[in-house]
Amino acid sequence: MSGRMIADKVVKYILFASAIISIIIVLAIGFFIFRESIEAWTELGIGEILFGTVWRPGIDQYGILAMIAGSLSVTFGAILLGVPLALGCAIFLAEIAPAGVQAVVRPAVQLLAGIPSVVYGLFGMVILVPLIRNINVPGNSGYGLLAASIVLAVMILPTIASIAEDAIRAVPENYRHGSLALGATKWQTITRVILPAGKSGIIAGVILGVGRALGETMAMIMVIGNSAIMPRPLSSNPLTFFLSQARTLTGNIAVEINYATGIHESALFATGVVLFGLIIVVNASARWIIRTQKYVEKAN
């Protein structure tokens, strides 16, 4: 074997090594976060951590249900506000906007995706929180789910919009032609033909948006108030639920990790394990939907 053949082999294995680095990193992340959390799981008990509603490290109470509820509530709020906007934006870009308008809106969506989350957080702190504070409900501080949901909705908009747009564009051109030839209007074509055909891609986009929302940290710390309580309505009006302060799983970690030692630190890693698990499930389901779509396409 000549020298360059050996070099060829060596390079192959170096490249192979870098290819499996990703596997090593994922395993290492799982391993280290779980290893650090073992103390909390074994000493406090899984049920105590997952279903405990009281987070009080000072008196050794480490229930993270309030944070799970906080994360889910703020994600729900963001989806409620962000998804219609994102889908509308995707339909607009893919089917309606003339090329000139697309050339403005698409870079705008891209830029929205690139803006650092702290800038959104700052914007929320300076503009949204004082605005929301004007809603006259006792105990309303402005910080809370509403401000966080609005900020988050803007942050997940680009993710959902761009994936949904791709999904809509991927619908074969002859679907459109067929529908229009049958006398359907453009809007009927969009709602009855294109959206159903691109459904799974759109759903996957929304799910990935959920993943992004669950994972956002700094902007949440800045506007949500960080109270470790179950979000609850501030008055008899159930809508004031969104004025409640809350804390997300991510915020719980970021805000306290630097202050924590011993079992407290371990409980924060346990929070990380829960977040990690949640995200893996969410992203895997998005991937699963995209994959089944591909099979269907192939079958067709």
Partner: protein, 307 residues
């Protein structure tokens, strides 16, 4: 006949009515979609415009060239945080780029290889693909937690640029792998066949032919990653320490622009300076987006020429 034609006329009339209704419905929804597009653009203009306008007044030469000072009172400028940002970006990419490009080359160029044979390697490749997708979805605070547990505590790198860059590399790795993969896929197979036919080995083919042809795509990935590191806060919040002195070695603590913005907004009342820092960040991100646009245009132009 008359009866028949009047019937047809009626049907036509009904159809026309129906059509009108549908058209009215259509114009309503289309208008709504326009509105949504408009809202998206206005959100951007609102956020970017507000930050640039408010922050613009805080930005001057002195702000950009003096270091922060006075503890948490928010005095001084942002010079060292700009320096630290670039330092950290460089370090992160120095770690992530070779790994990411190498991984992508293996996943694309070797995955289809017949001689690869072994079932083990094949399954490793599909696991690696799965791992890259998983990495891409992991929230940054998890990378931060991981970096804190492994680099800061276990390996005792402390709160340092090294810890932060290693954790940051995990964040940008999937971006670099995916964009490089796309760039490699865009290189026509004829290139590879031609080079191999001339007697070049696989690696020679890769680095003399395939890699140069895919450079713009790889650069796009790198620029994207630069943007992600500049914007990232959560990872560095728990691994970088936050000292605002200019780091002189990779074992030093530091504070990036985004982190400085967080501290200014949360810890001081210097909202004007926070806005100024935000404006600098936003301008950087806009420049990066323009750069990506420029490079990818070059890329498509190159591909067109090839065809």
């Amino acid at each position: 006949m008359d009866e028949r034609s009047s019937e047809i006329a009626l049907i036509h009339k009904a159809q026309a009515l129906n059509l009108k209704k549908e058209q009215r419905r259509q114009s309503f929804w289309v208008a709504l979609m326009w509105l949504f597009g408009l809202i998206t653009v206005s959100i951007l203009i609102l956020v970017v415009g507000y930050v640039l306008l408010k922050g613009g007044t805080a930005i001057n030469w002195e702000f950009l060239t003096t270091p922060p000072k006075g503890g948490l009172s928010g005095e001084g400028g942002i010079s060292t945080t700009i320096g630290t940002t670039f330092y950290l970006v460089g370090l992160t990419l120095l770690i992530a780029t070779p790994l990411g490009v190498g991984a992508a080359m293996f996943l694309i160029e070797y995955a289809g290889e017949q001689s690869l044979g072994s079932k083990f390697l094949r399954s490793m490749i599909s696991v690696a693909n799965f791992a890259v997708e998983t990495l891409a979805g992991i929230p940054s605070i998890i990378f931060g937690l991981f970096g804190y547990a492994l680099f800061v505590s276990t390996l005792k790198f402390g709160f340092s640029l090294l810890s932060a860059a290693l954790a940051g590399a995990c964040l940008v790795l999937p971006t670099i792998i995916r964009t490089t993969e796309e760039a490699l896929l865009a290189v026509p197979n004829d290139y590879r066949r031609g080079s191999l036919a001339l007697g070049a080995t696989k690696w020679q083919t890769l680095y003399r032919v395939v890699l140069p042809a895919s450079t713009p795509g790889i650069i796009t990935g790198i620029i994207l990653s630069v943007g992600r590191v500049i914007s990232e806060t959560a990872i560095f919040f728990v691994t970088l320490g936050g000292s605002y002195r200019m780091p002189t070695s990779i074992m030093d603590s530091g504070r990036t622009l985004a982190l400085h913005l967080y501290y200014l907004a949360m810890d001081t009342r210097a909202f004007d300076k926070a806005m100024g820092t935000g404006a600098v960040l936003v301008v950087m991100i806009i420049l990066i987006n323009l750069l990506i646009d420029f490079v990818s245009r070059k890329l498509t132009a190159g591909v067109r020429r090839v065809r």
